[in-house]
Amino acid sequence: MDLNLSESQTILRGAAREFLASECPPSLVRQMETDPKGLPPEVWRRIAQMGWPGIVVPEQYGGHEGSFLDLLVLLDEIGRAALPGPFFSTAVLAGLTILEGGSAEQKLSLLPRLCQGELFASLALSEPGLDFGLDGLTTAAATSGKGYAITGTKVFVPDAHLAEVLLCVARAGRRKDGVGVFLVKTANPGVSLAPLETNLRDKQFEVIFDGVEVGAAEVLGGKSGARAWLGPALGKAMLAKCAEMVGAGRRALELAVEYAKVRVQFGKPIGTLQAVKHHCANLATCIETAELMTYRAGWLVEQGLPWRRDALRAKAWTNEACKRAAALAHQVHGGMGFTREYDLYLYTGRMTAFAQMYGGTRWCLDQLADEMGLVREA
């Protein structure tokens, strides 16, 4: 075992932390809650200049060709700063999906612009009444003329308002479990967006596809065989989310420990009280373990070793650890942490909401049970 970051990862982390501390302070995060775009274009431009959107994209497509762990290190910092905006939707959801499923041609046409920060894209996967995953989709792509016509309703499509292209996951082909990923321009007739309001004030949308026509070439990696490669892409996105949660969790932990040292009640810092100490120790255990699980699964991905089971374990664990950690951090803070002017909610809100995204605990455990060969209920 070696838990140290490589030299280049240490540099990446330092640079990201420095950049985010100056360009994305908590005041900006708060301000963006009501901003129609969700991130100042200037900040995105600088993020693109640093090459973050293409951090794991091969050089031939204009990326940095970093490793998967590099991506996790970066998202850890992004979580720590509660960076809002389209990084996750564009670089992670769309980026990884294109990388896993796109043909060389598709990659060439999409990725260089994505790496430059010019192309915003997002993934349209979830549907009302469905968990994270590929089973039970109702959105369908029917053959139509020379291409397809897509019809269905997607929810929790992040940053659809910015996206030029949506990667729409739809049932396709003759087989019952056939799934395809279709490149749909949001400007196409038949695409309509409606915002979905969340506590987090992240930019989530309902997207209705009403017989949207897409060309035959606008399918990623074959019209109905997406299951084989989309699963891994989503699994990686799941781990990327874990890293972001771990970063937010670290920050919440730091805030709680700091607060316990300085908040005085009954004539002494509350951190001298054992009940409060134990809250902090439990909080620390949550975050340290979530971190270990996340990076271990990420390392397996990077090594090309089997990683699905560990990714599911990591997300299930990180979800529950972060939810518990969020509650503990608030308990330590008392009323102060309950105010919008204090920063804690920026992190705990993400820890809680992200636990539901790209694999909630129930879903992860269910998949894990399948992996372990436990039978499903008939």
Binding site: L3, L69, A281, A284, L374
Partner: protein, 394 residues
């Protein structure tokens, strides 16, 4: 970062040997006699013999210097043996003496080392740990057992409680008070390694709720030569703390719980309850998946400590987190497993209808003391908060 198992080659060697040598009956015997750290009234001849066999392989004290019968290898290698045994519900039965030995290597005299360590390494000698007293449990500094210096010896009087293995051990690893006036109290303690056959020592059994045995050890004006002192006078508390970091890795092992878990899953896959396959019940599926993740967490916490020790970094917070986590998880696992399995989970190994080697039944009582003995969870949390995260003392 690197999460690979750097000890894989040696692990294969140990696993192969154990799979050949450890018969199914012997495995059952270990499961019945030693799991959850219980100590039977007396060791069976088979287990005693197998422990000597492990010793003869050179696998006890692999990380000790060769001149004392050790293997001159790494702590990580020694732990491979512990882990592979744990994965088969077995253990090094004289493992308490590893605590004493690790300290002797730092503080012992040449004579003490030669007298004890080679025998421990052969798997034939145990050293019983004599810390706890009726009025000094978690608060080790409050030890009252009195050692009075007189000429070339000490006269020791008092009582120790919960000194597991004292009925089998050759030596007693004794922390006693040499300065009653010392402030703070932990400065007045001295460490001794006492021959348990010394006149004036009586060992009486305490039966425990897991059908095992620990002991009361009574000293009545026992003459202990000064040559039995370990480290300097009144430095005993520091001496005792010296090997604590690595010692906690020898007691609770994630691979034991992984093996137990695998057995539970195996059983559940074949079992039916209320007319349906147990494994198809969503509650069962989710509980098992949850523990699959939890055991993986404990494994990482464990490996993190080894990694830090290898680099001679402080481990106090990390090892405390590991101990707290694995013991709480172990308790939860056996309790949840009992609920998933239902009534058959209550059956002991000797029962004709027993399942999972009777371990779920045994674990109900067997895991209870894990969360308070050898560093209570509450103290572990104090350490994580205080040493790990700098929260102030009261």
């Amino acid at each position: 970062m690197d999460f690979s198992d750097s000890r894989a080659a040696f692990r294969r060697e140990v696993a192969q040997w154990l799979d050949r040598e450890l018969t199914d009956e012997l495995r059952d015997e270990y499961a019945r006699e030693t799991t959850f750290l219980r100590v039977p009234m007396a060791w069976s001849p088979n287990i005693l013999e197998f422990n000597r066999k492990i010793g003869a392989k050179g696998w006890i004290g692999l990380h000790w210097p060769k001149q004392y019968g050790g293997g001159g290898r790494t702590l990580g290698d020694q732990l491979v043996v512990v882990e592979e045994l744990a994965a088969r519900h077995a253990k090094i039965i004289n493992s308490q003496s590893l605590h004493a030995t690790n300290i002797l290597l730092i503080h012992g005299t040449e004579e003490q080392k030669m007298e004890i360590i080679p025998h421990v390494a052969r798997g034939e000698m145990e050293v019983s740990l004599g810390y706890t007293e009726p009025n000094a449990g978690s608060d080790v500094a409050n030890i009252q057992m009195r050692a009075v210096e007189k000429d070339d010896h000490f006269v020791i009087t008092g009582e120790k409680i919960f000194n597991t293995m004292a009925h089998w051990a050759s030596y007693h690893w004794l922390l006693a008070r040499t300065d009653p006036a010392a402030q703070p109290k932990y400065r007045g303690l001295t460490m001794f390694v006492v021959d348990l056959k010394t006149p004036g020592i009586t060992v009486r059994p305490i039966k425990t709720i897991d059908d095992a045995r620990t002991n009361l050890v009574h000293y009545d004006d026992v003459r202990v030569p000064k040559s039995r002192m370990v480290g300097a006078k009144n430095r005993g508390f520091y001496v005792a703390m010296d090997a604590l970091g690595q010692e906690r890795l020898f007691v609770f092992n994630p691979r034991f719980y992984r093996a137990l878990y695998d057995d539970i899953v195996q059983y559940i896959k074949t079992a039916h309850r209320n007319g349906r396959a147990l494994a198809s019940d969503p509650v069962v599926r989710h509980a098992l998946a949850e523990f699959d993740a939890k055991i993986a967490v404990s494994q990482l916490l464990y490996e993190r400590v080894i990694w830090l020790l290898e680099q001679k970094k402080p481990v106090i917070s990390e090892v405390s987190m590991f101990k707290m986590f694995i013991t709480e998880m172990g308790q939860e696992l056996v309790r949840r497993a009992l609920d998933l399995i239902g009534l058959p989970g209550l059956l002991r190994l000797e029962s004709k209808l027993s399942v999972v080697r009777g371990l779920v039944a045994m674990g109900q009582e067997g895991t209870i003391f894990h969360t308070f003995a050898g560093g209570a969870s509450e103290l572990m949390r104090n350490i994580i908060a205080g040493r790990g995260y700098g929260l102030p003392e009261a």
